[in-house]
């Protein structure tokens, strides 16, 4: 059996994290390849239903990347996103899904290296958890 | 000041005679053991004019105040049966008043009662059909007008001749409003009022001056509540944790300055000094001693305060 490569969905704010991913790319930084980035206009656009659908479709991990706290283009979109992440983590725990599969990170547009490092760190966490129990059933 | 005697209450007779009255307090047991009540009552007989019997205080289930009160009366001293409106609607309230009087209860302390949230049965449904002021009106209507709340008339021999009491709190918030609420109780027809425990003498003096100026002390007997400190820890606890009770730093310091084994003695000394002031404070007609779970100290304490002998009327 080949080594488990987690499938990760990242909801990235267009003002910061999405650019940080670009910065990482133009700096030719290497980071784990199994992340699919979804552009959102602000991390405040993140909704619990988006993460739920990602998990239902077989994602092993989901994270939301927004601007640094205090740096949201729309004032407090990232704070709202954080609260939704915490809310959903609790709900996931109640249905027996590891809450660590969902996370929130704050980066600025220039923090390419930090973005790359976070992706690796999160991928490591998810890898440690193993495949999502939902995905195992999908494959069966 | 002498007033018309309305009841067979010993407390009323003492107050009406102009003597400085003394009431005690006894908490019924959390069991069906009647001997415990009789034991505690022994310390109070002859030392106070009547004894408050608490009604499931702090919403913790205990023997009923009526039953414990009757046990206390059997031991040889009248009781002030407490009644809270938390657990009874107007049907039970009026029925219990009739029953209590028929069994020989002469004093009833009308209270709203602590909310059950912090009691031992927070799952219970509360009643609060009326508040303490409504309860005072209810007893007064039954006694003086011979009418139930429904308007139903009571025959003259069937009217409960009850001496009506309630509590007043000079220290709760909002400060300026407390005298108004006390006035409402007087207007409702209360005969005597006992306060929460008093430590903040300046604020109490100011409160009583207002009560005298408003003429309230001419219409009802005001009694001052006293709880001696058992030790420094108790004083500190009350200072920090009991809402509406202000313990002056001066009292804490006095307890701190004596060795631990002398603290109880110092606490009683502080209380006796307060009582000495109450004896001549305008409007104050007696003291209410709350030595809860410390009933055996009552004989020594009343002696220390020169409150003996109690008048026999």
């Amino acid at each position: 059996m080949s080594e488990f490569e987690p499938k990760i969905i990242a909801f990235c704010c267009q003002y910061c994290a999405y650019n940080a991913a670009d910065t990482a790319g133009s700096m030719r930084l290497q980071y784990t390849p199994n992340v699919e980035i979804v552009l959102i206009p602000c991390s405040g656009r993140f909704d619990v239903i988006l993460a739920l659908k990602a998990f239902q479709s077989g994602a092993d991990g989901v994270y939301v990347a927004g601007c640094l706290e205090g740096g949201c283009h729309f004032l407090d979109g990232n704070i709202r996103a954080k609260k939704r992440v915490v809310y959903l983590q609790n709900e996931l725990k109640k249905i027996g899904l590891e809450p660590e599969r969902l996370a929130m990170v704050n980066v600025s547009a220039s923090q390419g290296p930090q973005f790359a490092a976070y992706v690796d760190e999160f991928a490591g966490v998810v890898k440690g958890l193993g495949p999502s129990p939902v995905k195992k059933q999908l494959a069966a | 000041m002498t007033r018309e005697i309305k009841t067979n209450s010993n407390l009323e007779k003492v107050l009406a005679s102009g003597a400085f009255a003394v009431t005690g307090e006894l908490g019924p047991p959390r069991s069906a053991d009647g001997h415990e009540v009789a034991e505690k009552a022994k310390h109070l007989v002859g030392n106070v004019d009547s004894v408050n019997i608490t009604d499931n205080q702090t919403a913790v289930v205990r023997m009923s105040s009526l039953a414990a009160g009757l046990l206390v009366q059997k031991a040889g001293i009248q009781c002030n049966m407490q009644m809270v409106t938390r657990d009874r609607n107007r049907i039970a309230i009026q029925s219990d008043i009739m029953g209590a009087y028929a069994l020989g209860i002469n004093n009833l302390l009308c209270l709203t009662g602590d909310h059950q949230k912090f009691g031992d049965h927070p799952q219970s449904k509360n009643v609060f059909d009326m508040d303490a002021i409504g309860l005072i009106q209810t007893v007064k209507s039954m006694r003086d007008d011979g009418r139930l709340l429904s308007g139903q008339e009571l025959p003259p021999e069937g009217r409960p001749k009850i001496f009506i009491g309630s509590a007043y709190n000079p220290f709760a918030d909002p400060e300026k409003y407390r005298i108004i609420r006390t006035k409402k109780k007087v207007d409702a027809g209360v005969d005597f009022l006992q306060s929460q425990c008093i430590y903040d003498m300046p604020r109490f003096r100011a409160f009583m001056k207002e009560a005298v100026d408003m003429g309230l002390t001419e219409k009802a007997y005001f009694m001052a509540g006293i709880t001696p400190f058992k030790n420094l820890g108790m004083a500190r606890y009350m200072q920090k944790n009991v809402p509406g009770i202000l313990v002056p730093e001066e009292f804490v310091k006095r307890l701190k300055d004596v060795p631990k084994e002398k603290q109880a003695e110092e606490g009683m000394k502080i209380a006796s000094e307060q009582i000495e002031e109450f004896k001549s404070m305008p409007g104050i007609k007696g003291v209410h001693l709350m030595l809860i779970e410390w009933e055996h100290m009552v004989p020594e304490f009343v002696k220390l305060c020169n409150l003996l002998p109690r008048p026999k009327l």
């Binding site: 739920l52 | 303490a132 002021i133 409003y177 207007d187």
Partner: protein
């Protein structure tokens, strides 16, 4: 409005345990406004239940539908075609009137409440609601500075504040403001204390729930 809160997911899972076909019905009334049972909350609960079923490897279909209101028969009727498709369980995401109306209209169906109906209240801030009415059936707030002592005082007293009022909060919790403190302060601040000093009479509770389940018939509206 009527303020509700979703039941814990475990309790809802208990209602549908072993069932394969579930209909989840939301309501566009009060519970949409208080974010407990509108289209969005229906979508989230359905997704959570599906995710849970996927994880467990059990077959589960959760269909979603949100009615204009669940407390009016004409809207409840709109569910007829969907119900005819055959569901093992119908979960109502309305206040408790909803599941009662659904099970009366569709008596053969097994209808469960997914919300706890908490109180009649209003939003103090986004995401914060507080009780303001107990439906006592005879509004008296004009006698109390526009504030309700029945619902907002822990003891529903008519002549407060009681001795448990301290620093403007109730004896039961520092999170509960003492409405009597607010009432008394308002009259004192406005210099209208004399209006407030008279004793308020013992309340007549016969128009409240104490008088039995209530019903209103408006003759001019009845066909």
């Amino acid at each position: 409005m009527i303020i509700c809160e979703r039941k814990p997911i475990d309790e809802i899972k208990g209602f549908i345990a072993g069932k394969k076909k579930v209909l989840l019905v939301g309501c566009r009334g009060c519970v949409t406004v208080c974010n407990a049972g509108g289209t969005k909350e229906v979508e989230i609960l359905a997704a959570l239940l599906r995710l849970d079923a996927q994880k467990e490897g059990v077959e589960l279909t959760v269909d979603e539908f949100t009615l204009e209101r669940q407390c009016d028969p004409e809207y409840v009727d709109e569910l007829a075609d969907l119900v005819a498709k055959g569901y093992e369980v119908i979960l109502s995401m309305a206040c408790s009137v909803g599941p009662q109306f659904l099970s009366r209209r569709y008596p053969k169906e097994r209808v469960f409440p997914s919300l706890n109906t908490c109180f009649i209240g209003g939003a103090l801030a986004h995401g914060v609601w507080a009780e303001h009415c107990q439906a006592c059936g005879n509004c008296i707030i004009h006698n109390y500075g526009g504030m309700c002592p029945v619902s907002r005082c822990s003891k529903s007293i008519m002549n407060g504040p009681c001795g448990g009022s301290s620093n403007g909060v109730c004896e039961i919790s520092k999170e509960v403001e003492c409405v009597w403190h607010l009432i008394a302060s308002k009259y004192m601040d406005e210099g209208r204390l004399e209006e407030f000093a008279p004793i308020q009479p013992i309340k007549d509770w016969s128009k409240s729930r104490d008088g039995g389940p209530r019903k209103i018939v408006r003759e001019e509206l009845v066909k």
